[in-house]
Chain length 307, copies 2
Amino acid sequence: MAFDDMTTALSPTGDDAPLIPVLAVVGVGLIGGSFAAALRAAGVAGRILGVGRDAVTIQRACDLGLIDQGASLEDALEQADMIMLAAPVGAIAWLLERMAPMLRPETVVTDAGSTKSDIVQAARRSLGNKLSQFVPGHPVAGAEQTGPRAARPDLYVNRNVVLTPLAETSRQALNQVTRAWQACGARVLTMDASTHDTVLASVSHVPHFLSSVFMWQVAMAQDADLRLSLAGSGFRDFTRIAAGSPEVWRDIFMSNRTAVLAELAEVRRALEHAEQALCDGDEQALEDFLERAALARRLWASRSGLE
Amino acid sequence: MAFDDMTTALSPTGDDAPLIPVLAVVGVGLIGGSFAAALRAAGVAGRILGVGRDAVTIQRACDLGLIDQGASLEDALEQADMIMLAAPVGAIAWLLERMAPMLRPETVVTDAGSTKSDIVQAARRSLGNKLSQFVPGHPVAGAEQTGPRAARPDLYVNRNVVLTPLAETSRQALNQVTRAWQACGARVLTMDASTHDTVLASVSHVPHFLSSVFMWQVAMAQDADLRLSLAGSGFRDFTRIAAGSPEVWRDIFMSNRTAVLAELAEVRRALEHAEQALCDGDEQALEDFLERAALARRLWASRSGLE
């Protein structure tokens, strides 16, 4: 597709119209609210509809200026040029199924779910010949806070967004979603859903699992109070992610179960290796492994710009 | 011991003299340098001697005003009223052995090593009838930075310092070290060395071990570059401690090997439990464990004031 086609696709009503005349965001918490706020700040979204079960949240998102008005899913399907599903992973399959019969052929659908193979499968089951309109996505960004109050237009600046288009996904839909995320300041990467899920299992889901297991183990100890009274800044950093939403993370683990279990098995092998070195009193092996880890972490920090 | 005795013990030359007329700090990096800086700022240390193998570090500590002058271990033993051993765990046993023959009966010796049973054993081996002068200690504070440049007088404000006195430790020595740490703004706790080592294995050493194992496993993966390019803020927090000094942590793990291996076995049991729930697709068990972990972490954060 040439550049002209892309421009046309994104400005169907002429040069002065915003790229997305009507945007609907299903789930106006941190992720969906920040997407809305970023697109509005960039001037690429016209009217923004917010869809959600909780009227208080929708009202708050209106008051904060994240969305223009609340809407039902039916209204959104009727009016929106792009629909962003920023719901928990477990709810996206259900949403796709409900949306399928009413989805107009011009509407582009994307999502922000943390796992992709499950969602791709759900889309295949539900969308039929409308599959070309769906662009699965995952913004690799987050914060401890949740809800519309935590939303901010710069959440995605310089953050990675992974899109995992299907063979059936139209280039026009992919381009539109790509440009929306770029307008949010994000770096857009494209890969297949299974690669995404393996990589995220490794660098996001497994750390959360380990941090939660560790926090649970400490809290269940008979002398938990004493332990916790002596926990310092290393403990603080290591366990920060364990405070995340139990429901959200249960869904993520269930949805990416195969990849998470495979990665956990790898981590466990590495753990056994390191434990054996300690058990044997093998100082050299112990230092080698600590040094490789420290160098890799320092290199990552200097390259990623994250700390 | 009555309060008057304590005052006398700490002000041997009269009310106007500082509590510690001559302080010697062996190892003037972050921990020792901050101890010196805090005591100087509180006005409780008179002259401060710095002992160390590296002349450049000693000179830097002088230039930064952390110490008044460099000194040999022999000079320190001759002049100091209190000697703080702020060396890596592996070096403290060696220092105690070298110091024992020259240690004057008035001098109080303490340390800042991260493990205590090993150091207590070393003290028993080396100090003989001078054991009463030794107060094993561990300030539970640190930072990613190391070296004298990272030292600061407020490092210990509101942080925990654990003292693990022996049955032989004199009350006078214990009181003097307690008051020195309190002058740094620290909360002082007293417990036996083995309790300290179990608790620290749990909340400090095991997290470091797991974080390093995880970082190592990711860095060794064939697609490590892709993984690391998608690592976000959760990964950043979870792996921050893995960047710590390999030598320092090798020494800590070796020194506290028994307790660390015991705690790792407990964590592994908890991990197997959680993995089984995921493997079984037991959503309720998974959510229960995640919820207990999240609640415990949130409660800890609100109580500890650490974030």
